[in-house]
């Protein structure tokens, strides 16, 4: 019981690393462009399939393929932005962008299901495991956690220090003032969309190495990433990181104590509770 508990706790923490990458991407898009990319989870799913098929057919290691996932999904995100660009000045922009990304995610999920069927698939990575204080840690599960932390921290430093990062933050604070200061808004939107969606691809690539992938996983990832953003606070990297670990652990613990059928319950209960309690503050934005 005790060892099992620690094992579950540890793997939940490792899963939190993947959640962090997903949520940071969504956070970036949501913070800068003020639109919800409802298809974010579906992009994670596409990234996972990309890593899986390049491993299966071409024999490329998923850890190298995450760079490929980043580029392909980043381009896909830019394509998605091209789809949305027409409505930027529309008063219903928020509403229409929600529905359009929802439609996109429905179409993409079902195309994947049609082409590759609903079978559960996964990349089998064989790696040695190591032991810390009597607990066996599998390297394959540990790596995504490390990558997740590195990506989040790297992005944090990049957005804090670089010129592009500063212009991104400027646009997220006040688009028109940033434009008056000579920031190219369109440029910033393209970068944030490309970066955010690319990170979704990275998360998918990492996810495929430790868990089974299937077409419908996208929707739970969307809700989850949004939940992390709400819990951690929009535009906050520290909050995002902590919130993803909190969610991953609460999910793992619910599965451990109540059976895996109740696992999604934790996430949804937390998001409902958070939105209910913090609702007044979120509405004021």
């Amino acid at each position: 019981m005790g060892a099992d508990f620690i094992q579950v706790l540890m793997y939940s923490v490792f899963l939190g690393g993947i959640y962090a990458i997903t949520a940071v991407g969504l956070n970036l898009i949501f913070g800068v462009m003020k639109i919800v990319n409802f298809s974010h989870g579906v992009l994670v799913m596409i990234g996972a399939y990309l890593a899986f098929w390049s491993w299966k057919l071409l024999g490329i290691s998923p850890y190298i393929m995450i760079f490929g996932c980043f580029i392909v999904l980043g381009l896909m995100g830019i394509g998605l932005y091209a789809l949305l660009k027409k409505f930027e000045s529309d008063p219903d922009f928020e509403l229409l962008s929600l529905i359009i990304t929802f439609g996109f995610s429905i179409a993409a999920t079902n195309i994947v299901r049609y082409v590759w069927t609903s079978r559960f698939r996964g990349v089998f990575v064989i790696m040695k495991s190591f032991e810390i204080g009597g607990i066996t840690v599998s390297t394959a599960r540990f790596l995504p956690f490390v990558v997740g932390l590195l990506v989040t921290l790297g992005l944090y430093v990049y957005l804090k220090k670089s010129y592009i990062g500063k212009s991104l933050r400027a646009v997220s604070q006040d688009p028109s003032a940033a434009q008056l200061m000579g920031v190219n808004k369109m440029h910033v939107y393209l970068i944030s969309m490309g970066l955010g969606c690319g990170l979704a691809g990275v998360a998918g690539g990492l996810f495929s190495t430790i868990y089974a992938i299937y077409p419908e996983m996208g929707f739970s990832f969307t809700v989850l990433a949004f939940c992390v953003v709400v819990l951690g606070g929009m535009g906050s990297f520290k909050g995002c990181l902590i919130a993803s670990f909190v969610l991953a652990i609460s999910e793992g613990m619910t599965g451990f104590f109540f059976g895996s059928g109740w696992k999604p319950f934790a996430t949804y209960a937390i998001i409902i509770a958070v939105l209910t309690i913090r609702g007044h503050r979120l509405a004021a934005r």
């Binding site: 409802f38 049609y114 809700v223 709400v230 509405a283």
Partner: protein, 331 residues
Amino acid sequence: MGVNQREVVLEQRGERDSSMGASRVLSPKNIVITLVILGFLSVPYVATGYVISLLASIFVAGVLAASWNLMAGFCGYISFGHQVFFGVGAYAAAILVTSLKLGEGSLIYSILFGGVASSAVAFAFGYPALILRGPYFSILTMGFSELMYVIMVNTPWFGGAEGLNLPPVYILPKYYTIVFVIFAGCFFFLYWMRKSKFGFALASIRQDEDAAESSGIPTHFYKMLAFAVAAFFPGLIGAAYVWYITYIDAVAAFQLHLVVEMIAITMFGGLGTVVGPLIGAFCFVLLSEFLWASMPELYLIVLGVIIVVIIRFMPKGVVVHILESLKIKFV
């Protein structure tokens, strides 16, 4: 308010002269509407089973789309979990019937119970949820629907993953009539609502909620009311549907494709119009009949692509575009 001003207001509302009461009742428009209703009500006596069930599914799709449109089009709140009210209505009726061991005689009461239960759930859920706006509300509704699914699947009292069975009765003609009455009620309600105080309040919320709030409209109350009404009709439909298929489980009750259909139909017909979802439902049920028969696996792909393409090229809706280009007046 001066007399002239009042007349202007009445004219805007389409109630030009209240002194012509008798002739208003017998106006050509009302006669046509009555004949159409009688025509639809007589369908079970003349048509084959296939036609009856096809028309019934058009009405079901129409009511579901119209109730989604009530929140999204009239009020500006996108719900990605609206199928939850269909499921709650279905479960409420099923639980009532199975736990009290009722027979076919309880048909009407159990359907009404389903609608009221769904409305009550919406009212309770809407109180915290409708404080939120925009994407927060959308994600919350989706989370709520998933939460209900998880609860229903994992709780034995609700039948668990097996679901609940109702007494097996053949009620297709009755089902048709009930669904048609719900459909007609829904559309007359929306038609009335459009020009009522309630409808104007919703329109003001959609345009600028802060301005509406500061001009003294109790926005939160009106939103909750709209949400309860938008849940009432799917609840009725869900309860009627559970009698029709005599069986309910969580997968059938909270399936995502219901809300995808609602969105696709509304976007096809036109967001915020009364006739849009009506015509949209008609086109979509025919399309889905065709697709389910020939290539069922493409159905949701087509729906998703249609949603994206329509918003990209005709954000007002295909039906609205066609009606506007033909210069036909519509509501």
